[in-house]
Symmetry: C2
């Protein structure tokens, strides 16, 4: 297992972690000040400052882009909606390439509007990823399916376990892998088996950390800083690395009432400390 | 599939559904007024009016007790805590017998206080149920493990899928089964397979309904009335009955901001209507 206290260059900051305080250029400058060498930016932040500016800043600071957030949202009530989603996903692939991202992270989408049919949503997701793969493979951009916690099955992602994500990768062939976020998967009784399976197949593309707070006050925006909750983060990282994972450890915290209210320089400092001492 | 609009006697009201408005005697009288023939009471409500009074009321109104809520919470940081939990569970079995309940529902407990080891919690749960079974089997009271949604894994139940519950039943032998609550399991990609498995083994003891709201504003207390959310309740009931389930359909809604604020007679009326038209 890697000693993160001696590997500061493996820390990546998902830009959502300080999104309420800073624009993308400010985040990049802030990370540079604190010698953080990798980030994972969001599309809306890139759109706000412009793709060209974002790419220039990444190059200027020689930043590693651990993932681009995010493609997906494949489900829709009709064919036109699904086609629009696919078109948008192709643009996301182009942007990920321009930023030299290691992968495009996919949050696949929940139930189509008005639908209660989760099996249909899962089929739509499978079809959508298959179509996108034709494009992303040709462009040389890897896709990473991020299974989301089952509490997001209705409105964000109907891929809710690492097993489902692995099954999709197995069915769809080269160019597709998984992003393992401890927040979404820590509870899964089949986690160890499925991490090993992803590693064996060389499709473990990303590893994200934050913590599960008790109590959790909001389904989306109450994620905790590593060490403040109940996830055995180091235990999961051990499994991930035993499976061959060699990439960054990406911190992604949505925290409306706590970390988004703090001085963003402080947030980055605490991320760096906890990364080294907790993860 | 049973036609619920012609089977009003299969409706059961979990007493949590109107717990903020009424005491247990009031709930029983209210159900009797509306010709609701089954309830599932909670231990704290029974304690409040006294077991003897509760049992007399049940008898007077010839009510069916679809389940007794609840045993479980087996996990603890030390042996004394686990023993105390076991003693309390034995008392719950006694109470369930006095009320002539069809089963004692088990919410098994989450991580032990101070622990991040979910595998250990799961082992504690298995050991706890095994011990309790020695007692409950001798007394002739069935235990029903209720797998809870993974968002409760930390603080309420580390059995989070029907597969886990079925595996426990298979390992622990006679006298133990499962309670399937659509709120907890609707998202599970292996749900159909595991419902069939529970049915085949004759350990499908209870079926609970409510709905998943989008958005869900609170992890615990924002459950929806059947038809107001996105769960395909009838689709799951079809599977449960195809697997041989022949019992009640129990409505259990925790709703701090909505249904707990309404006239409880109205709540029961809506439960009865939606039971017949949606479930």
């Amino acid at each position: 297992m890697r000693d993160l206290s001696r590997r500061p260059e493996l820390l990546s900051i998902n830009t959502a972690t300080v999104r309420q305080q800073w624009s993308l250029p400010q985040i990049i400058e802030g990370c540079a000040r604190q010698e953080i060498r990798a980030v994972a930016p969001w599309r809306d932040q890139v759109a706000q400052c412009g793709l060209k500016t974002a790419a220039e800043l990444v190059k200027k600071h020689d930043l590693r882009i651990s993932g681009y957030c995010r493609g997906g949202m494949f489900t829709a009530p009709d064919k036109a909606g699904r086609q629009a989603a696919l078109d948008d996903n192709r643009r996301a692939v182009d942007e990920a390439l321009a930023l030299n991202a290691e992968c495009l992270v996919l949050v696949v989408g929940g139930l189509a509007a008005g639908s209660k049919d989760i099996a249909d949503a899962r089929q739509q997701v499978r079809d959508g990823i298959a179509s996108l793969l034709d494009y992303s493979r040709a462009q040389g951009m890897k896709l990473a399916i991020e299974p989301l916690h089952p509490m997001y099955a209705a409105d964000r992602a109907c891929v809710n376990t690492l097993k489902q994500a692995n099954d999709l990768c197995q069915a769809l062939g080269a160019g597709i892998g998984v992003a393992v976020d401890v927040y979404h998967v820590w509870w899964d009784p089949e986690l160890a088996v499925e991490i090993a399976r992803a590693g064996k197949n060389n499709w473990l593309y990303a590893f994200h950390v934050c913590d599960w707070l008790v109590p959790t006050r909001d389904l989306l925006l109450d994620r905790g800083m590593m060490g403040d909750g109940i996830i055995d983060i180091a235990g999961i990282r051990r499994q991930v690395e035993a499976a061959g994972y060699n990439g960054t450890v990406e911190v992604e915290i949505f925290s409306a009432q706590d970390w988004w209210q703090r001085d963003p320089d402080e947030v980055l400092r605490v991320c760096r400390e906890r990364y080294a001492s907790v993860c």
